[in-house]
Symmetry: C2
Subunit: 206 residues, 2 copies
């Protein structure tokens, strides 16, 4: 029996007070009250305004071989899939791999250009992880957010490595990483700052 | 009229989820449910277990010329000063400068060895800051915690520079920095990690 080599990693961009999105998320403002226009632009300015400073971290985001995300990260549709919605990322999403979307509402898989296929998982986070691991082979699985999805995986002890990208602002309210998660022991792996972010990588010990 | 050169700085050690102390603080457990024995040892291991890695940040802690702290950081006595208490730091506290303690209960100044004097301020955070600034001259004033004191100064727009020392653990509950503080714009000044901490310095813009 061979040892699995792939890890379960999580990259999430948060404010200095730990929020990955503000209150009042809508289709027009997917990040809600984010201190700007609700596009998440201020949180994610490190990616879009200073990509050269953060090339290694940006490349790392796409390096996993399978992805998991919450339904609210996938899109603004709530309840039944009563209108066409294939994610925020256009016809050729940046994943180029299977993406497992957690939802209570079944839906057929949605293939996209460039190798991304959205799969909709209705039987819980462990099932989604099992499917993502099978798809990733010996590659990494990335739990991609939002915070409430990340928190479920952290609480279940299923994340190996957590990479926080901390933006220089606070939001004061919203969806917060670690909220409701029992205390964790972490191991400091690396950190560094660029002009619009501090990157911190932890190994999750327990 | 000369320009003031001293700044108002704040150094605070927090968990990765933003807590500077856990729940249920007592005299025996001044940091409450901190994942260890309540001494704050796990949060502050970067100072006590790996001081050589963090010499610059430790030296910086004592560099201010006046200090402000909340009463709960000063000690466990609540209500009237009905028993002798001169802080957690012994006869020669590490401040070597005036320390202004916020309290609702008046008390005479308490001189200690080594140049530290504890002054007790009953008329609010702005008064404490005015007195600390006068004492510091053109040196820096340090707002030393706990989180609820820091949050009051942040909310009032009175902190120039915030230095977070982020320990690799989460507490899940307790006293959290930024809690109840309106959204802030920060400027990333520096960050670096050592084996038991990530140090992040922000300038507070608004």
């Amino acid at each position: 029996m061979s040892e699995r080599t792939g890890r379960v990693i999580c990259d999430i961009t948060i404010s200095a007070d730990g929020y990955s999105a503000g209150l009042d998320q809508t289709e027009e403002r997917p990040f809600g009250e984010d201190g700007g226009d609700g596009s998440g632009g201020r949180l994610h300015a490190w990616m879009f305004e200073t990509p050269d400073e953060n090339r290694a971290e940006i490349d790392q985001l796409a390096a996993a071989r399978a992805f998991i995300m919450g339904r609210n990260m996938f899109g603004p549709v709530r309840g039944a899939w009563d209108r066409r919605w294939n994610g925020w990322w256009g016809d050729d999403p940046p994943f180029h791999a299977p993406v497992f979307v957690l939802t209570h509402h079944a839906r057929e898989p949605q293939p996209m250009d460039g190798g991304t296929t959205f799969h909709f998982v209705t039987d819980g986070i462990e099932s989604a992880l099992a499917r993502a691991r099978a798809a990733a082979g010996d590659g990494d699985v990335a739990v991609h957010g939002g915070a409430s999805t990340v928190n479920q995986y952290l609480a279940a002890g299923l994340i190996d490595e957590l990479r926080l990208h901390i933006a220089p602002l606070t939001l004061g309210a919203g969806t917060r990483v670690f909220e409701g998660v029992p205390p964790l022991r972490l191991e400091q792996v690396t950190s560094r700052s660029a002009s619009l972010v501090t990157h911190v990588t932890y190994r999750v010990l327990s």
